[in-house]
Structure formats: structure tokens, C-alpha cells
Amino acid sequence: MQRSQVLDLYFVDARSKLIDIAAFLDRAERAEGADDYRLRAFREALSALAAQGGGANRAERVLLAFSDPTSAPVEQADGKAATGAWRGEGK
């Protein structure tokens, strides 16, 4: 596809999602309390969006920013549900 076709198909939708992200960050920062591991991972993932060039693989880099980078199985599952971001070693 031509870049103009990609923009015709997806620009307005992506713009809407970007504003949702901005509003989410504003909302989180207006709220009382400290950041936790999820917001820290989110900020790291945002930096992947700023990567430039056709080989930037932004989607992959964003996913990796939220991922557990370790290799060994954990001793026991701490519940059935993932939370969306890695808590860190031993947490």
C-alpha cells in the first residue's frame, strides 16, 4: 500500500487512540499516590514509540517493554491472571 492509503485507512483511528493514551496519563497523574510497576513499564513503552525509521519495530518493542525478561520458571503461580506488566524479579 502507499503511505497515503495507510493514512487514509488508519490515521483518524490512531489519532483517537493516541489522545486516549494522553488522557490516561493525565488521569493517572491527577490521582493521588505513587507510580507502580505498571506505570513505570508504560512510560518505558512510550519511549519505543519515538523510535524512527522503517525498521523500528515499535509494536515488538512496546510488547517487550511490558514483558518478563527472565528465563527460569517461577516457583509458584501468584494467581491465574497476568496484570499487563512485569513486576520485577522476586515480586
Binding site: M1, S67, D68, V74, D78, K80, A82
Partner: protein, 268 residues
């Protein structure tokens, strides 16, 4: 348009969904065993569930002229109770010769725990001993990348496992390369929030043209869409993919993988 829904938890859906799928062009539906949303407390509960998958649900689907197939296993979410898992593994062979049973699945990992790994390895051994196809569930969200690495390492270390007879499901941008490069089939799951949206799924397909890939809805009792596959086909059409290219992904690829099971009958 014709398509196969290779991963749908239809016991959790209404018959309205069967009708909608058939009207959208669905030619067959495949249902892996999964977690009911609560832990079962006895192997007999699993026996009833396997009977539901292999006896009752095919009859329900047949009312909508839809062939129904199933995969059998204990879901990794229920792998922490090793004693119960052992009992369930022992009864699975009773069901493997039933018509419509495609293999062992969806097995895999959930939180990447030691017990999950142990039960995954026992499922892989069961599949190898009974020459069954394998359908793999990769973990959610932050656990997916690590879980996919663990799963591939285990499978590659078992010389009895032919990667061409294993489909690793729920791939995303950070796991698809590793799966395909190791020779496994890859499944892209279309979910409204987690996993892939149709535009991301088509991005992956375009970057891996000609790969051993299929798409599925994995619709269940949660936020999911039984028409996700035809909606992804519409996304492909919007980008200019031909009818033949779409047919390859959503019909011919599933037929090619599933036909490795003697129980699968390719739709005419």
C-alpha cells in the same frame, strides 16, 4: 467467502453465534479444552467436560450444519494441583479415538510456574506416545514472551516432536518470528483488547507472507468476538488482498494443518 474457525470455545457461546458464523461463511469449528472460569475439583468433572466436547457440542453445531472438532487436555490454569492433573491426564486416552478429536490442546503455560512446566511436559509426552497433533496456548500479556521461549525449548528438546505437527497459538509481534523460525505453525488470535486486533494481525501476515499461519477468534465466556475471523478478512480486503490470498490464510492453511489428523475431514 469461506473460512475455518480453528479455535473457539463454543460451549460458552449461544447458538446465535453458530448461526452468525455459518452465515459469515464458516465451514468448520475446532474447540480446544480450556478453563471453565473456576477450578474443577475432580477428574470426573473433566470426564463430563470431555464428553460435552466430543458428544454434545458436535450435535449442537450440527443443527447449524457446522462440523465440530475438539482438542483435549487440562488447561495450564489448573496445573498447580499435580495430583488432580495426573488423574485427568490418565483419562484423556479414553477419548482420543472419538470422531472429531484432533489432538492434545490447548496445552502450554499460563504464569510460567514449575508445576505448569511439569504438566506441559506430561501433555507433550502423552501426545508423542499417541501420535497426536498439538495445539499450544501461550501465556497472556507480560508472561507471553518468556512462556513462548520456555515452550519452544521444551518442544525442541523432545526428539519425538515434529514442529510441523504443532501449532503455537496467540502469537504477537514479539513472539511470531521465534515460533516460525523454529518450524512450528503459528496462530494469531483476534481479541478486542488483549492479543491482536485485525489491523495488527494483518500487519503480521503481510510481514510473514507465505508462512504457516492461521487466524482464530478464541471466543469464550469473556470479552471476545465469534466473528473476529471474517472481520479480519474484511480488513485484508480493505488493504487490497485478493480473495485467493484471504482464502489461503483462513481456509487452506487450517485445512493443511488439521488434515494431519485422521479425524479431520476437509470441507468440500
Amino acid at each position: 467467502m469461506r473460512y475455518i474457525e480453528p479455535h473457539a470455545h463454543m460451549v460458552s457461546r449461544t447458538t446465535d453465534d453458530y448461526l452468525a458464523m455459518v452465515l459469515a461463511g464458516c465451514q468448520a469449528v475446532c474447540e480446544p479444552a480450556f478453563w471453565a472460569g473456576f477450578d474443577r475439583h475432580s477428574a470426573e468433572g473433566f470426564r463430563d467436560y470431555f464428553a460435552q466436547l466430543t458428544e454434545h457440542e458436535p450435535k449442537r453445531a450440527a443443527k447449524y450444519l457446522l462440523p465440530h472438532y475438539s482438542w483435549l487436555c487440562l488447561n495450564p490454569k489448573e496445573a498447580e494441583d499435580l495430583a488432580l492433573a495426573g488423574e485427568v491426564l490418565a483419562l484423556i486416552p479414553e477419548f482420543l479415538d472419538r470422531p472429531g478429536v484432533l489432538g492434545i490442546g490447548e496445552i502450554g503455560l499460563n504464569r510460567n510456574s514449575r508445576n505448569e512446566v511439569a504438566i506441559f511436559e506430561r501433555h507433550v509426552d502423552l501426545a508423542a506416545r499417541h501420535n497426536q497433533l498439538i495445539l499450544i496456548h501461550t501465556p497472556h500479556l507480560e508472561d507471553k514472551h518468556k512462556g513462548t521461549r520456555l515452550i519452544i525449548d521444551i518442544l525442541k528438546n523432545d526428539p519425538r516432536i515434529d514442529p510441523g505437527r504443532v501449532l503455537i497459538d496467540h502469537v504477537e509481534e514479539h513472539t511470531v518470528d521465534r515460533v516460525l523460525e523454529a518450524g512450528f505453525w503459528a496462530g494469531i488470535t483476534l481479541y478486542p483488547e488483549s492479543k491482536c486486533t485485525p489491523p495488527r494481525a494483518v500487519d503480521i501476515l503481510e510481514r510473514h507472507a507465505g508462512g504457516n499461519v492461521w487466524m482464530n477468534s478464541a471466543c469464550d465466556w469473556g470479552h471476545s468476538d465469534p466473528l473476529a475471523v471474517p472481520k479480519a478478512c474484511f480488513e485484508m480486503r480493505k488493504r487490497g488482498h485478493t480473495a485467493a490470498e484471504i482464502d489461503q490464510i483462513v481456509f487452506q492453511n487450517p485445512v493443511r494443518f488439521l488434515s494431519q489428523s485422521p479425524h479431520f475431514v476437509a470441507p468440500v
